[in-house]
Point group: C2
Chain length 434, copies 2
Amino acid sequence: MILKDLHQMADASRRAAWALAASDLNIRNAALLAMARKLNAHQEKIFAANAADVADATAANLAAPLLHRLKFREEKLAAVTAGLEALAQLPDPIGQTTIARELTEGLTMYRVACPIGVIGVIFESRPDALVQIASLALKSGNAVLLKGGREALRTNAVLCDCLREAAAEVGLPADFAQLLTTREDVAAMLREDELIDLIIPRGSNEFVRYIMDNSRIPVLGHADGICHVYVDKAADIDMAVSIAVDSKTQNVAVCNAMETLLVHRDISEAYLQKLLPAMQTKKVRLLGDENVRAIIPVEPADEADWATEYLDYTLSIRVVDDLDAAIEHINHYGSGHTDCIVTSDTSAAKAFLTRVDSAGVYHNVSTRFADGFVYGFGAEVGIATGKIHARGPMGLEGLTTYKYKLLGSGQLMAEMKSGARHYTHKLLNEECPL
Amino acid sequence: MILKDLHQMADASRRAAWALAASDLNIRNAALLAMARKLNAHQEKIFAANAADVADATAANLAAPLLHRLKFREEKLAAVTAGLEALAQLPDPIGQTTIARELTEGLTMYRVACPIGVIGVIFESRPDALVQIASLALKSGNAVLLKGGREALRTNAVLCDCLREAAAEVGLPADFAQLLTTREDVAAMLREDELIDLIIPRGSNEFVRYIMDNSRIPVLGHADGICHVYVDKAADIDMAVSIAVDSKTQNVAVCNAMETLLVHRDISEAYLQKLLPAMQTKKVRLLGDENVRAIIPVEPADEADWATEYLDYTLSIRVVDDLDAAIEHINHYGSGHTDCIVTSDTSAAKAFLTRVDSAGVYHNVSTRFADGFVYGFGAEVGIATGKIHARGPMGLEGLTTYKYKLLGSGQLMAEMKSGARHYTHKLLNEECPL
């Protein structure tokens, strides 16, 4: 394989992005349906490439959960093509007018949603993620440079070719999606701040920091989830036990699983006595501070535990003096992902939801609900743990920006300054005609 | 003066931000009105501090336009206090529900606007900017670390003290606004990525790049404006002359002034013959490519001119073969700020507005209209030249993000997976009750 120069690739992405920004929704939707057909038509080739990837990964002794994520067979193909068809049904994320205002007679300003442009996405060894990300990008008029896990290299190459062919078939630029294959490609991509508008890295905190430290391109980090459940003194104890068990154990390997449980001092004895057997049934290893250990027999938790994302059947527990202490703990140790209060006290819930500085703030519901599909966004590019641009589960809207279109008839600033014209600033309820 | 440790200052900002995020709109508005009163009450002290700053700047031979921006007397005080009173009338930028959706029976998701948190703003030697930025931050529930130009140090210190006292008087934390005084403070601020959510640097491209290269904190750059006017072959020549003159000369020292004029080949002779005397009247130095110089006597423009922000009575002119070439030129050399097409051809206008990749894309109107006040946003923190989060003139909305509040009654993911519950995904038209 001859490696293309990354700068040339980024330039091709930029040109593809301009074509996509000017494309009709019907064409973009036709491309999505063509992608589904193309993937089905080439399924033997995809499965063969994937079998080779899986064989190598098995020989290299890849951990079972990762191997499971790497496998791409009939079931995942069906899910991916169903996703493409559903995406084709969604309304156009670009082109809507979000503000229309007459500035002065004969001059109207429209704020219109438009694509971001060229987006670099670095994702884990899950080939279905490639299709999801590329299709969301195309639907929203963006071009993507994609770097997947190296274990999935062959599968990703075949999948990306299918998507590119489908786009070309309906007259859109194949270069809307291009695959990067090496770490050197990623390093080179991070330097292309004149051509690339946004980097979305999915991975560990350390990885996201590495990206931020090595690029001027804006980064929407999708990093750790150190999620908390706080059991308030006014909690329903049974509900608080079941929410804690679900948040911790329904799937331990995901970013919206609970890592630390906080319990109000006044309810700690009654609650922890009930929690212990429930967590034992699920074989969860429990760690606690000394107040917890005075009530139930668990291993000691130290300072490092409060900042650890276990992604495993392990839970740290801390007794707190009051709601303020719980909020303080979460804002200090948390990752701004998703945190829950269990309480029947509405004012405590309101204080928690207002003051906890996280993308998801929950009252009486498992943290596992933090997900783009669950929120009704159709699909997600990832879960943003920063606060700029997009926060939390990031769907099509997160892949858009806007521009201001001003339609005039010769208006000059000199006329405004002289008083020959004046500002009317009249809000209008209309779409931009251009 | 004892310099406070920047980390302690950032930590104090963070705590102030949490208090502000939970504050009532009436209290924030009361603070704005108290600020106006406080500034009026302390005007002698402000003017004295400013006189000292101006004396030093005069002695240091500061350029006249900069000296003019530095001066803070009755007229600017009146403008600033009027701005505070107007800001107090604007609706709350935080707290509104922008999506409400039932996820499953008894569980509702609300997306609610909230402050970003702690924002570092680095601005030029214009003391009124300090009041504008700090007041916009407080209205939107954010804390700010402010670094102004060193020429305005004494004025800024008195102004900031007034704003802090006013906030404290109504019960909000004085530390919502803190003043940085040295470059070392700025360097230290850039390292506080755990405490600071956003940096807004206003200044040159080089300065914004320096900030981006030296911080993990997201940056909303407010950099160069290389704005273009493109005179299409179907332009009204008189309108195209007056728009070019206004865009270039109404105020040459601002980022929304035109720097390069592009002219369609077919209209170039007739247009340039009319443009020349109009620009000569305004004493504009003209540079052109060889096609321009074949028509009117101007100095030669070279490659560097297309990428230069003159901020002066200088204009580079280029003849282009067609609309595509104009768009290509703008997307290549422009800074994504504001670009205008003059034409009576609607389809050419539509292509230009869709394909030019800038925050402001104008049809038949001077580029000088790119401004937050002109757009009806009340005030602006700056004009963002990137595409992420906020683009173009950035008002209160740019200082907000959102969080997802989920209000449940014990819902578990295990119930969704088992089919005991199902997703309803019903859009609701209601505000979040908590």
